[in-house]
Symmetry: C2
Subunit: 705 residues, 2 copies
């Protein structure tokens, strides 16, 4: 008995030392004994016939999960036969069980006192297994379980901006997960846990390298390494994709050109695609950043994006792989409006892309700002499947120190109405194909991609709460109709605590976090996509090799006012939207305040719908935003007893940093803008303790090597 | 009982999932019950009076360790009183117990049926506590325990080449351990485990940033972060040091110069040192790389290294901190011999350095090659304390993929005889002060530094076996008389297995690994300190901004032969050694084969003492070296049942990569050198399957971005 106690004591200690590695797949013992008993009664065995590797993953996950949740081993049987009280996995291409399911959907029902998970494919069954586990992890009743779910988008992908040297561009959670120098011989067990986490959300594709692509990845040497990853991911229904360097025929192949219409170039790519498939028979395809921010592309040879994409699609023709072509392009033209660039370059190409091509469009027209209106490309390329690209990693959202739950940002874009086919033509419905009917276009596909926030940090995402963003992206890629609230609630219960008050408090904190961030960082439609110091406020930055890489290009502060005039008196970018959208946003009186400075150069003294002048409203946002981080800290302090102590301390420290930096952003902006507005900080706010020079000095630290 | 079994089962599973995080401080339950019982009888309590923070660390570590090893909690009592059967920690500046101990030494004896750990300082007691735990971990008898140990060198330090952006220069185990953007508010629990691991070896100092130093670290912003680390390390007897950027007075202070004789510059440093001490009252001091590889330094203003170092020493005068000035300098002179540079620049300055200055010298004259003769500076600066700098991270020793146990490399240098005070004047005795009597020079110090191989990888060092190098460095810094064999054996038993045959096998594998590496990488005194692709063989590399950054500068292959003539007919670098050393090495007949090509340009056809010609001996080394990696794989396969399965697989994978790359190095060298030697590969070796062009192409992959 003494040993039992000791043993339990040790277990408790181990359980307490929660380092975040397990993510939302914790599977801790259910403490509610009646519930645990009820679950155990319904999970006396797991039945699956001759499991394929993917189905085996489902079985193994159920075993692992049930062992943890119920505290006992659940046996696996070949078939249920007449046995009841267990979990039965069935896969059949047709039949009543799978009616209404698409290829990856699942249905979970009670039948003959078993829980039956049905799907048309092994992958569907795998998603069903994870859904059942989620059901138990979140404490739902098991007796009348009845769940049917179909993914709304076919390709649900992570994009890793990971470089072969081990660094991650815009990564804030350590270095790359992929240990390139050790692959293929050494296969980190972590790769499997990565695949499990993704599969639990329904993510079925991963681009393992940066869109600013190294040609290394296309060499045989590296393809062997990529194949080793693909072998780990395959049993979890995840395909591997590669970002490609468009000039590879010259760099690797020794050709004189990489012109997409050159026969030798076309042959080189065809050969390369063949070679890739020798290593990775189910290769997912290519992701391409071309003629963007210095990357090579078809325009280097006077060809179009469609020429480039179609050339790669032709090489991919013998296989199932796809070509995902990014629409993130803009020219270094001081007179142009970067906002308009992608629309201008891509809409004329609509209809010219090979059916294997998907164009991947960032959610907003510029670059993953804390708040952007939706990209006007959505709805304006009816003949081209448009995938959407979100950024999960917090490049502009406070890195690993600021807590920003991103589901509201994703949802704001997905639910925005393009009006292309009348009211209700939301971005989500463009992306999932229901507006333009991509679904019927044969080999074409629907796509939602997220730039990953994972890294080598033990807890994967640096900030423990940033795991919620990976989670939310995956859940929304599966079903964009889920609410931000429901996802936050679900994640919190699976990951942090089941204590109801704490769940409520944390969910609420998460839901408010993005607006709080926007308020102290870029309120009222300000933006800050300039290069330079990503870690620090720099609204005064006006010196770069390109005008659109300065801060002043975006905010356009002057003695009159603030904001970028994109109405007909300015760049007229608003003309890229449908009239229903344009009319509302074009009028400063009806333009929603969150987008105001995206579209209007507004005088400092102009009264806004809030009743305050622009200057006073800006100050109010900056100050209340920063003050709200104090509120976040207080809320977090309230959940101390309900969450793991190490995790509590970790998040507390990050919220302290966030508060310090919220004041930094606030002071940088208000002191800088004050040099134009020439007005005092309005009561009840107190002017910053520091001067603009002080703030600049503190920012300059981050410019040092 | 069922629950007990389940519980034990789970514990066993958890214990099996060994991710290497715990290093050699595993404290797993001792399975040998008689031994465990005997230990438990002698460890019924831990007694320590009013523990200071450092003593508290000793107590906590004993508690943690004993809890794990014995499987039961051991109570802590204020004083032993008349109790017996426990562990008593006593600290007293004088008395019989501490006779013969230096400030950090310890003595462990049995007295009155207690185990008494005595020391003059709390740090000594902490080292004693770790020594006692090591004694138990390695299964030594407890009844007549009697251990006395004094560190031979005062400053035992790690140098971290970690940059503020999170990357580690020459790091192969992930990114930096220091989460700069999250500090000081978020303090990773890992920092404490880092301190524990170092303290367990007696390491008492750490330079947290790269010698190619960012001035950021000297700003108040970053000093707060460094102070947060210092607060964690202090209770483990570890002081924090900073690498400094010599031009900081200009860069940070806005001065017009960083001339060390300029009064404003001197004042700036004095103020900066004061500021640092406000954050870190027990600051360890500065490490400086100046006028080396493009770094700024005093020579930019016509001043000497002594002027620069003494200026910093003057700034440090009010405090206990030191100035550690690196001797790693060499000029871009095509006619010069880089070998001679440090000796030429530094010996004339002997006697000119402030007593607060230590000059830190790399073990060899060039740059951490797989094998180098000892640096001729050792013994030739009798008035200047010379610290020794080893490289633990495997920049030239195969990164995280090749298994190379470094203790034999460290020992080869430490035991080399300089003959400066006659026979027995080893490098170790120069460094520990016994040759030149630094010990009596008041504030001067003795120093051994190791460039760390730690990173953010879960197991700290990437290759699990590379933990042995961190361990070996620390143990030798404490006591350079320990044998490579004893250290390997001790580390293996604490870290991998206690199974005697496996211990023997792994120890043997480790001991042979460095010579095997040298054989396939740089045999007979070849070297490869060129920049370019550190990951790949490139002996043909002959194009760089500096001649001494090419490969051909070092090996000097031509139609006649191979090697760098450093005799009087060549650069005469040998004149920098004492006659006893020089005479042996100057004569190609008596020069040991391992150093032959360091000192002689040897004709391809010359018969060596082995009976083979140079060419045949080279081929024999390259081929048998690579073949020996096969032997390492077979040996490792034999220990499968004795080590953790995940760790076994991890090391197996790395050995596979090592074999692949050993063939790569072999083929690159022999095919390239063959173009000069114009001789066939001698029997029984078969010529490589690939051509030199093939090898070059495979190397070129690593030159791609």
């Amino acid at each position: 008995m003494y040993r039992l106690l000791l043993c339990l004591l040790l277990l408790t200690q181990l359980a307490h030392a929660d380092d975040g590695y397990r993510l939302w797949l914790k599977y801790d013992l259910i403490n509610d004994i009646p519930r645990r008993t009820a679950y155990a009664r319904s999970a006396q065995f797991i039945a699956a016939n001759k499991p394929s590797p993917v189905l085996q993953s489902a079985v193994t996950e159920l075993q692992t999960g049930l062992q943890g949740l119920l505290g006992k081993a659940v046996p696996v049987v070949a078939q249920s036969g007449s046995r009841t009280g267990g979990i039965v996995l069935t896969v059949a291409p047709s039949g009543a069980d799978v009616q209404g399911l698409n290829d990856e959907g699942y249905r979970i029902v009670r039948r003959q006192n078993n829980i039956v998970i049905s799907a048309k494919t092994d992958a569907g069954a795998l998603y069903g297994a994870f859904a059942l586990l989620r059901h138990l992890q979140t404490g739902q009743p098991i007796d009348q379980v009845s769940l049917t779910s179909n993914p709304k988008v076919k390709l649900r992908m992570l994009n890793h901006w990971d470089n072969p040297n081990g660094a991650i561009e815009r990564g804030y959670a350590g270095g790359t997960l992929w240990k390139w120098y050790e692959l293929p011989e050494t296969v980190d067990p972590r790769y499997r846990d990565y695949a499990r986490a993704n599969a639990s959300l329904g993510i079925n594709g991963t681009v393992v390298n940066n869109v600013n692509a190294s040609p290394r990845l296309l060499t045989g040497e590296y393809l062997q390494k990529v194949a080793a990853l693909a072998n780990v991911f395959r049993p979890y229904g995840i395909k591997v994709y590669l970002s490609v360097y468009f000039a590879a025929p010259k760099t690797l192949g020794g050709l004189k050109t990489s012109d997409p219409l050159d026969p030798q170039v076309r042959q080189w790519w065809a050969d390369k695609v063949n070679e890739i498939h020798r290593y990775i028979p189910d290769f997912g395809g290519f992701l391409v950043k071309a003629n963007s921010e210095g990357e090579p592309g078809p325009q280097d040879y006077g060809r179009t994006h469609a020429d480039g994409a179609n050339m790669l699609a032709a090489a991919m023709k013998p296989y199932s792989g796809l070509v995902i072509w990014r629409a993130f392009v803009y020219k270094a033209d001081p007179k142009a409006d970067r906002f308009k660039a992608a629309h201008e370059e891509f809409t004329p190409l609509d209809g010219q892309f090979d059916p294997k091509v998907i164009v991947q469009v960032k959610n907003g027209p510029i670059d993953f700002q804390p708040r952007e209106p939706f990209s006007p490309l959505f709805g304006n390329m009816p003949k081209t499947p448009l995938g959407i690209e979100f950024q999960i990693t917090q490049e502009y959202l406070g890195f690993a120190t600021h807590t920003v739950y991103e589901a509201p940002l994703f949802k704001e874009c997905l639910e925005a109405d393009t009006y292309v086919n009348g009211k209700g033509s939301t971005v989500a419905k463009v992306v999932d194909g229901s507006v333009h009917g991509y679904r019927n276009a044969g080999p074409t596909q629907t796509l939602m991609a997220g730039v990953a926030n994972t890294g080598s940090d033990r807890n994967w995402t640096g900030n423990p709460l940033a795991q919620a963003n990976w989670y939310a992206f995956g859940r929304l890629a599966w079903d964009h109709t889920l609410s931000s609230d429901a996802i936050a609630n679900e994640w919190t219960r699976m990951t942090l605590t089941s204590e109801p008050q704490a769940v409520k408090r944390i969910t609420n904190l998460l839901l408010k976090s993005r607006d709080i961030y926007v308020d102290y960082n870029t309120p009222l439609g300000l933006s800050r996509p300039w290069t330079g110091v990503h870690f620090a406020p720099e609204p005064w930055q006006n010196n770069s090799s390109r005008p659109d890489w300065t801060a002043v290009y975006y905010h356009r502060a002057d003695s009159v006012g603030l904001g970028f005039d994109r109405t007909p008196t300015g760049s007229n970018a608003l003309a890229q939207y449908r009239p229903e959208v344009r009319r509302q946003w074009e009028n400063p009186e009806t333009c929603p305040l969150p987008y105001l400075l995206w579209f209007h150069h507004v005088p400092w003294t102009k009264p806004l719908s809030s009743g305050r002048t622009l200057w006073n409203e800006l100050c109010t946002r900056f100050y209340t935003g920063a003050d709200s981080v104090q509120w976040m800290r207080r809320e977090w302090a309230q959940v101390k007893s309900a969450v793991d102590p190490a995790l509590f301390a970790d998040v507390s420290g990050r919220l302290d940093t966030q508060y310090k930096e919220a004041l930094w952003w606030r002071d940088a902006w208000v002191l800088y803008l004050q040099t134009f507005a020439r007005q005092p900080i309005p009561a009840p706010f107190k002017k910053p303790d520091r001067t603009l020079t002080d703030v600049k000095k503190s920012v300059d630290i981050y410019l040092l090597r």
